[in-house]
Amino acid sequence: MNETTNQEKKTFWEKLLSIDRRIIFLFIAVAISLPLFFKTSLDMPVSPVVQEVYNAVEKLQAGSKVLVSFDYDPSSMPELQPMAESFFRHCFRNNLKVIIMGLWPQGPLQANIALEQVFKDEDIKAKNLQYGIDYVNLGFTAGNEVVIDRMGHDFRESYPADSRGTPLSEIPLMRGVRNYDNIDLILNLSAGYPGTQEWVQYAVDVFHVKLAAGNTAVQAPSMYPYIQTGQLAGVLGGMKGGAEYEIALKRPARAVSYMFSQAIAHGVICLFIIIGNIAFFSSRKKKTS
């Protein structure tokens, strides 16, 4: 009875402050899912940190070897998978050789999913890329940063064979590759530990390799100090980084289309924050008076 009386006494603003969170969930669900049905491609400028990643690939000559470390799992897939696909497209378009590895057990599988997607492109299909010659998947090895460190001496110390069990000495692409000295660029796609920070500390600082990174939006800000010091060539941060890379590549794909959804969701959250603050000040004013 008392509760009912208290409920009746609540003003509109107070009710708004204690709004059922399921209503917020509903708004967010609509804001995220509805834009996905519209194939809207939003234009946005390419930020310098993303442009640097693009430039690093462009500077490489055909036949150069690129190492891509997949250090994430499906939970970070919406942000990192579009980056992986775009990066593969860029490498294969420029006739670069791609070596794939993973410090996370699910990483090499994520790479296979990205490859499967990229191989559907007509221009990539026309190149008739072959496993072991144009790309290779070394798989996963347990050991986190120690794997990175040992690869600096010899890849075979961390990966005696690829994910299919073929010894590296029998893979044509790996014949000229001993350590990081034979790699022209490394891209680390990371969602946590082990990830970009470990690659910077154990590969860049010790073996002076050229490293670029693709990170989740949560992780990307912690990489900015490494860009300023030159330890990282560039960073693709979150879905926005992926979308900008697609724009730089002049091939808008999934990240660009997802950005519309993310933009609307951000707008709705901002709207909720404004409403929450108006309600907060209005109810406080009432209490003071």
Binding site: R21, I24, F25, F27, I28, A29, I32, L42, D43, M44, P45, S47, D73, P74, S75, S76, M77, P78, P108, L109, N112, I113, E116, N137, G139, A142, G143, N144, V146, D149, R150, H153, E157, S163, R164, G165, P221, S222, Y224, P225, Q228, K240, M259, F260, Q262, A263, I264, A265, H266, G267, V268, I269, C270, F272, I273, I275, G276, N277, F280, F281
Partner: protein
């Protein structure tokens, strides 16, 4: 002996790893210790599997609360392992077209992505309740969050176009200066903490890792 051996081993390995960075001939020892690490890391996976089966097996045996979930965990583990090892048709179990790949794509992949996607809803709800301009610090945090949330998406870029790109520029400024300075301070703090913790472990002052002392 139970206490001394781990302490001596830790001290020898720790000191060798530090010195080997500056004296290359000691890399032979460093490599040996790293080999040990690889072996232990590989065994840790088997230990994890054993732990998973023991904990869930015990839960099922004692019919503890939520025991059916234990059955799902053990069944899921066994089914995926058996399919991955024995039913890959001569291919690597990770290759497209294998039953393992099918399970990964149609079960693990959406389940894992869904769990993480739920964060969006909680973040929105938490933002509504927590981002209040209660005092100066909270207002600054709110302002920075607001600028970044709008300035980092295309909607913010459009709004910013009408305002002479001030919103996007402000977002970039926050990322390039205050955020970067804060990150660097945190990183230096963490690094100093790691160095002191590592020295305490190497010198035997910190023994929490051995037998819970």
């Amino acid at each position: 002996m139970r206490r001394e051996v781990p302490l001596v081993l830790t001290a020898i390995v720790g000191i060798t790893m530090i010195i080997a960075h500056f004296i290359p001939p000691l890399n032979i020892l460093k490599n040996l210790f790293e080999d040990w690490f690889f072996i232990i890391a590989a065994f840790a996976i088997y230990l994890g599997i054993l732990n998973l089966i023991l904990i869930n097996g015990d839960k099922i045996y004692k019919k503890q609360k939520g025991w059916p979930f234990g059955v799902v965990v053990i069944l899921g583990f066994l089914v995926i392992t058996v399919i991955g090892i024995f039913f890959s048709g001569g291919k690597s179990f990770q290759d497209p077209g294998t039953p393992f790949y099918y399970i990964y794509m149609n079960l693990y992949y959406p389940l894992s992505a869904t769990m993480f996607a739920l964060l969006a809803f909680f973040v929105a709800s938490a933002s509504y309740r927590a981002f209040r301009a209660r005092n100066v610090e909270a207002t600054m945090l709110l302002g920075a969050a607001f600028i970044l949330m709008l300035g980092r998406v295309p909607i913010g870029y459009w709004i910013s176009t009408w305002l002479g790109h001030t919103l996007a520029n402000a977002a970039d400024w926050i990322m390039d200066f205050p955020q970067l300075a804060g990150q660097r301070a945190i990183m230096i703090g963490i690094a100093l903490g790691v160095v002191s913790s590592a020295l305490r472990v190497i010198l035997g002052l910190e023994r929490a890792y051995s037998a819970g002392e």
